[in-house]
Symmetry: C2
């Protein structure tokens, strides 16, 4: 099954293969007649131009790298969905790179991506405290780069993210409005920017309401159901006076609900709850979870648009884009 090449098309259409190239690239300087004939032959032979050969000479692969860390993370999975749709719309593909098992592999993956001459790289993974020298190095090499929810202080980086401070604020204010004063918080892992920002929103809401911040009402966890469950038990043990909880994601909120039930606390009568993410389960767990919805697919979409702009060399106007969140009221807040 020999592949049909541009030369085969040229021969069959009785033109030079350069003319065929003009036709498939929609160059203006081809006679209408020739153009039609060539297209017809292309159809007949089922010719497909080799993206590889094109890439070799044009230095453009129309392929982007996609770095992700964790497919069980709802936020980033949705970002990828949005990114993929937008990329396809503009004729790009993503090469998938998941560092699921080992974040330390990232530099190596990046090397392999540049070896494959991707036109740009999208980071759909969180800010952590991992070493970031390899990313700084990419920036210095002027590799088009956009990140979602990943910030590198001091580096000029195009970032698309959600306004987590405002999200934390909304979540906490919702509980304050219900009259709560002893509002606990279960956070994600230390070192994440989103964790700090949501916590900042939480503190901001408290201070606006004149409620002093009480560190004994805060527990760290790791985003998982199990960790939320355990954190809630710790929280109940050390601060039994708690009447409301802001969990920094829905999984931990649902885990916490289990712990609350085990401790005999009714939801929302004894303890009200707000989560974060609006995962599909949030509307169907029992009781259904009040939460902060984030425009995750939109984040991926915007990030990809900016990335492709960078690839095309057009100056990207904004370096940082923050999208807004929305409070979704459900039963855990007594609705």
């Amino acid at each position: 099954m020999k592949r049909v090449t541009i030369q085969d098309v040229a021969a069959a259409a009785v033109v030079s293969y350069q003319t065929v190239s003009r036709v498939i690239n929609n160059r203006p300087d081809v006679a209408e007649d020739t153009r039609r004939r060539v297209w017809q032959v292309i159809e007949e032979l089922g010719y497909q131009p080799s993206a590889i050969a094109r890439g070799l000479v044009s230095k453009r692969t129309y392929t982007l790298g996609l770095i992700t860390a964790d497919f069980s993370d709802y936020f980033f999975t949705q970002v990828i969905v949005g990114a993929e749709v937008e990329a396809r719309k503009q004729g790009y593909f993503f090469m998938l790179c998941s560092t699921e098992r080992n974040p330390a592999d990232e530099p190596e993956y990046l090397r392999l991506l540049t070896e494959r001459q991707v036109d740009g790289i999208l980071f759909a993974r969180p800010s952590t405290e991992e070493d970031s020298r390899h990313i700084v190095s990419l920036i210095q090499q002027d590799v088009p780069l956009v990140t979602t929810a990943y910030w590198l202080p001091g580096e000029k980086l195009t970032v698309v993210d959600v306004d987590n401070i405002d999200g934390g604020l909304q979540a906490t204010e919702c509980l304050i409005e219900l009259g709560h004063r002893k509002i606990g918080m279960i956070t994600g892992p230390a070192g994440w920017k989103s964790v700090n920002d949501r916590a900042e929103g939480y503190k901001l809401a408290l201070s606006r309401a004149g409620i002093p911040f009480d560190a004994s009402l805060v527990e760290y966890a790791d985003w998982s159901y199990q960790s939320g469950y355990e954190a809630m038990h710790r929280l109940l043990a050390k601060s039994p006076q708690i009447t409301a909880l802001f969990a920094q994601n829905d999984q931990m909120a649902i885990g916490a609900m289990r712990a609350l039930r085990e401790a005999g606390r009714r939801i929302p009568d004894d303890v009200a709850l707000v989560g974060y993410d609006d995962i599909p389960a949030a509307a169907y767990c029992h009781p259904s979870l009040t939460t902060i919805r984030q425009p995750m697919q939109r984040v991926g979409e915007v990030a990809t648009q900016l990335l492709i702009q960078l690839v095309n060399g057009s100056a990207v106007e904004r370096k940082e884009v923050l999208l807004t969140t929305e409070l979704i009221r459900r039963e855990t807040c007594g609705s």
Copy 2:
């Protein structure tokens, strides 16, 4: 920032660039001395061979296509995770192709993938009743192809899947052992092989226990929480005598639980439940969900292994691989 090429390395190492090629491809016929010198220059210059140029001549891109339909589907997302890890282990990348929005785009995506000369294609999406001519055409063109949970009757296709008949059997038997006779079922959408197989397992279990199959105990849904919720309400309306339910996935099971609560049925006292998938939420919803766990990452892993074997031209011994499921007992079965 001009890219360093093989020629630059050759010049700096004072050898022909063909020798450099030998070095980077680990050919035996290079003097140890030369080899060392070349490697050193490569390091110094930060040379990265162009995968594009290599691909052009060698006809191998070490890139695979990945067709997926829906990132909110836990099964396939996990398959992708397993596939990605295995691919990386063997030096391959996946080009991501999600037909999320419109399954009808698939033929076009496939065309774009072959244009990019992927070495093979993995289908991580379900069997549906969509037109499959474009896939048959790929098979005829001898494009290496492996599918997960996607069957094309009559075509010789390498498929990796889970034993859904046995899964349905285990789920139903678990309920029968608890003494239930009026066992309902909420299925996924008609036309899916996994839906038919799980239903077959359900019927098999009933018949083995001497319980007649009762069509009024079955409702179709579409895998979503909402659809499970609605199906359960319909089921309760038409067959109130129901005392147990097998939901063909966990999302529908959790949706059904909400409907049962609304109808005043206690779980598991009035109605026992078994789901399918063991999504992370299953262990944390209330009550926690008995379910069938599937080795999803393993499916992706095995599928990728087989695909790469096909790419390498080594005859793949088995054309169909079925992995086994496991019953996870939790509170919805009164444990």
